[in-house]
Symmetry: none
Subunit: 366 residues, 2 copies
DNA sequence: GAGTCTGATGAATCCATAC
DNA sequence: GGTATGGATTCATCAGACT
C-alpha cells in the first residue's frame, strides 16, 4: 500500500440520529457530502433560554433587558451559524429546504440570500385543516412557508419535474401545496397521551418534497430532526438520512419510529422521467440505417415548408443547409426549433413525424 | 380669534397623485396622518437572459429600469428608507400592507420587524391563472406574498372580522386568498394596445384588503401608485387616497382612470366574491398522504386487471405506465377511462373503489 | 347566435452537453 | 472555460375569427 498523507475523511453516519448541538454536529461531518438538507428550525420565542448571545453569555428568559432588538439579533446570529454549517455540508449541486411562519421565515430567507444560496422557489403549505383564529382579530393563519434554494447560482439542482407533474395528474406542480396538518394516527403520542412533539410535520409534505428534489440513494440531512418525519419518509423512499436532535426525549421517539419503517419496493420508487433523460440519437443515424433515403423530402408539421435529406444527415431547404433544428428554426424565423417534432416524412400517403423513427431506435436500444 | 403660534401643519393632499421620489414625498407630509399604507415596491427580479415559451414566443419580461438594483445592499438601503418614512406617516393605530415575491419579500419582512412594525399576518395571494414554468425547471410560481403589520406591538389596528366572514360565505377568512391575476378588460392598455403597466394588481385584491383593514373615510396612501389600483378601489369604497408615483406615464394613466371611477361601484363587489369550484384532487395525493402505499396493488372493478402504485402517483400494469386513467383505458382498449371509479384497493378483504378516498379528502377540505 | 378554433399573454431570478 | 448546438418545454383566460 502506498503511503497516504491525506487526512482521512470522517465517515458519514448514515441512517442514524446524532445528538448535541446541530452546528457542532454539522461541522464534524465532511464538507460537500450531503445532497439535500431539510430544516424546520425553532421559532424566535421558543429560543429564549436556549440561546447564547454573540459574546457567549447565556440569554436569560426572564431577563428584563431582553427586548425585541436583542431577540432578533440573537435569532439572526443563530440562523447565520447553522445556515453556514449547512452550506458547507452540501455537495456543489446540493439544495436546502427550510420551513417557517411569518415569525421567522423572513429572517431565514434574507439570510439564505446573504450567504449566497440561490432561491429557487418559495412554496406555500396551505393547511387544509388549520387551527381557527378564536379571537377574530386576524386572518386564520392557514399556511406555512417553505423556501427551496440551491447552494449557488447556476448549480444543477435535482428537480424531478415529470414525477411532480404525474403527482398532480398531468399539470405541472405549483408553488402552493394543499395538504392536511399532521393529526390522527400519524401524530406521535407519549405514554400519557400528549403529543410527542409540538410541531410534527406531516409525512405527505416530506413525501412531495423528497420525490421532487432527491433521487433514490441520496443523502438527506435534517439538523432539527425532532421526532424524525424526515428520516421516516426518506427511509420509505429509499434515501439515506442523517438526523441531528439535541433533546433526548425526541431522539427516543424517533429511534423507535424509524425501526418500524420499511422501505417501499424499489420498483415502486421509480418515477416518471423526462425525455431529457433518454439517450441522444443523431438524426444522421436514420439515414445511415436506411429509415430515410438521401434525397427524400420532408415536410414541416404545418405543411408550409419542405426540405431534402442529404447523405450526411443534414437538410437543404430554400437555400438553407444545416441540421434538422437549424433549418426548421430558419424557415420559421424562430429562435430555436425541435426538428424531431417539426419535420414529417411520407409513408403510405400519411405524414408521420420523424420522432417516431427516433422512438423506434430508442426502443431497440433497450 | 386667538393668536396661534403653532406651526401650521401641512394639509393632506387627499385624492391626488403626488409626483417625485416617494421618500421625499412622504417626508413632506405630516406625521401620524395616515390610516393605512399599501405598498407594492419594485421586486428586484434578477433576470438573466431571454425566456421563450415552447411555441417560441418571447416572454415580455419586467426589465424596466425602476426594477434594477446593483446589490442586496442597495435594495436594503432603499427598503429601509421608504419603510421608515412610511412608519412616520402612520397614525398610532395605523397599519401597512406590503406585497412581494420570493425575490424581495424576505428582505421586506425582516426590515419591517427591524423597524418595530408588528407583523399581524402574512397573506398568500394564490393566483388562479399564473404564468406557467416554461422550461420545467421549478415549481410554477403561482403566488405572491402580502405582509400585514401594525405600527407597533399592541396597537389597536382595524380588522373588520365580520365583513370578511361575510365575504367568505360565513367562514372565517384565511391567510390564503385565491384570486385571478389582472387581465381582460380590467387590464389598462396604452393607445398602441400594449399594457400600460407591467405589474398592474387586480382590483379584487385591493378590495378585500381595504374592506378588511380600513373603514369608510380612512386615509389610504400608496407610495408606489403605478396606474392607481389602490386609489381606484379606495374611491369606490369611500376611502380617501393619496398616491405617489415617480413616472409621468403611469400618473397620466392613473389620473384618467380615477376620473371615471364612481363611489360604491357595484362592479368591485362582483369581482371579489368569485365562487370556489369543486377542488380537484390529484391521485398522487392519496400516495403522499399514505392512504395508498407505493407498491400496493389495485384491481379493476371488473376484476380482470391489476396494476401497481408508484411513488409519484402513476400506475404500472402489464408494461404500461401512466395515470390511473391512462392505464385503465389502455388495459380495456378504450379511448378513455375514469380511473377513480375503475380502480379498487383491498381493505379488510373487500375491494373498495379508490374514489372513496377522494371523497374523504374533499370532505376534509370543506 | 351558439359553439369552435386560433392566437396572444401574464412580476420569470427557467438547459445540457460536447468540443 | 467559453462557444456552439441539440432539442426540451406551458396553463388559464380572453379576444377575435370562423363555422
Amino acid at each position: 500500500m502506498t503511503k497516504n498523507t491525506r487526512k482521512e475523511a470522517p465517515v458519514l453516519p448514515l441512517n442514524t440520529i446524532m445528538s448535541g448541538d446541530c452546528i457542532e454536529a454539522m461541522n464534524s461531518l465532511p464538507e460537500g457530502s450531503v445532497d439535500l438538507i431539510f430544516a424546520d428550525p425553532p421559532y424566535n420565542l421558543q429560543l429564549r433560554g436556549d440561546l447564547h448571545r454573540p459574546d457567549n453569555s447565556k440569554v436569560d428568559a426572564v431577563d428584563d433587558s431582553w427586548d425585541q432588538f436583542d431577540s432578533f439579533k440573537v435569532y439572526d446570529d443563530f440562523t447565520r451559524e447553522w445556515l453556514a454549517a449547512a452550506r458547507r455540508l452540501l455537495k456543489p449541486n446540493g439544495a436546502i429546504w427550510v420551513i417557517g411562519s411569518y415569525h421567522n421565515v423572513f429572517r431565514l430567507g434574507a439570510e439564505l440570500q446573504n450567504q449566497g444560496y440561490w432561491l429557487l422557489n418559495d412554496v406555500v403549505w396551505r393547511k387544509s385543516n388549520p387551527m381557527p383564529n378564536f379571537r377574530g382579530k386576524r386572518f386564520t393563519n392557514a399556511h406555512e412557508t417553505l423556501i427551496w434554494a440551491s447552494k449557488n447560482e447556476g448549480a444543477k439542482y435535482t428537480f424531478n419535474y415529470e414525477a411532480l407533474k404525474a403527482l398532480n395528474e398531468g399539470i405541472q406542480m405549483r408553488s402552493d401545496w394543499v395538504l392536511p396538518i399532521c393529526n390522527g394516527g400519524e401524530r406521535l403520542k407519549n405514554e400519557d397521551g400528549d403529543k410527542a412533539h409540538p410541531t410534527q410535520k406531516p409525512q405527505s409534505l416530506l413525501h412531495r418534497l423528497l420525490i421532487a428534489t432527491t433521487n433514490p440513494g441520496d443523502v438527506v440531512l435534517d439538523p432539527f430532526f425532532g421526532t424524525g418525519t424526515t428520516g421516516a419518509v426518506a427511509k420509505m423512499l429509499g434515501r439515506d438520512y442523517i438526523g441531528i436532535e439535541r433533546e433526548e426525549k425526541y431522539r427516543k421517539v424517533a429511534e423507535k419510529r424509524l425501526k418500524s419503517i420499511r422501505k417501499f419496493d424499489s420498483e415502486a420508487l421509480k418515477v416518471s422521467t423526462s425525455k431529457r433523460a433518454e439517450p441522444r440519437v443523431p438524426f444522421g443515424q436514420l439515414v445511415e440505417r436506411g429509415m430515410l433515403r438521401p434525397g427524400e423530402e420532408l415536410s414541416s408539421l404545418n405543411g408550409r415548408h419542405k426540405a431534402k435529406v442529404r447523405a450526411d444527415g443534414t437538410l437543404v431547404g430554400n437555400d438553407v443547409k444545416g441540421s434538422i433544428h437549424q433549418v426548421g428554426a430558419h424557415l420559421e424565423g424562430a429562435p430555436s426549433c425541435n426538428g424531431w417534432t417539426y419535420w414529417t416524412y411520407k409513408r403510405d400517403g400519411q405524414n408521420v413525424p420523424i420522432d417516431l423513427l427516433r422512438q423506434q431506435i430508442r426502443a431497440e436500444m433497450n
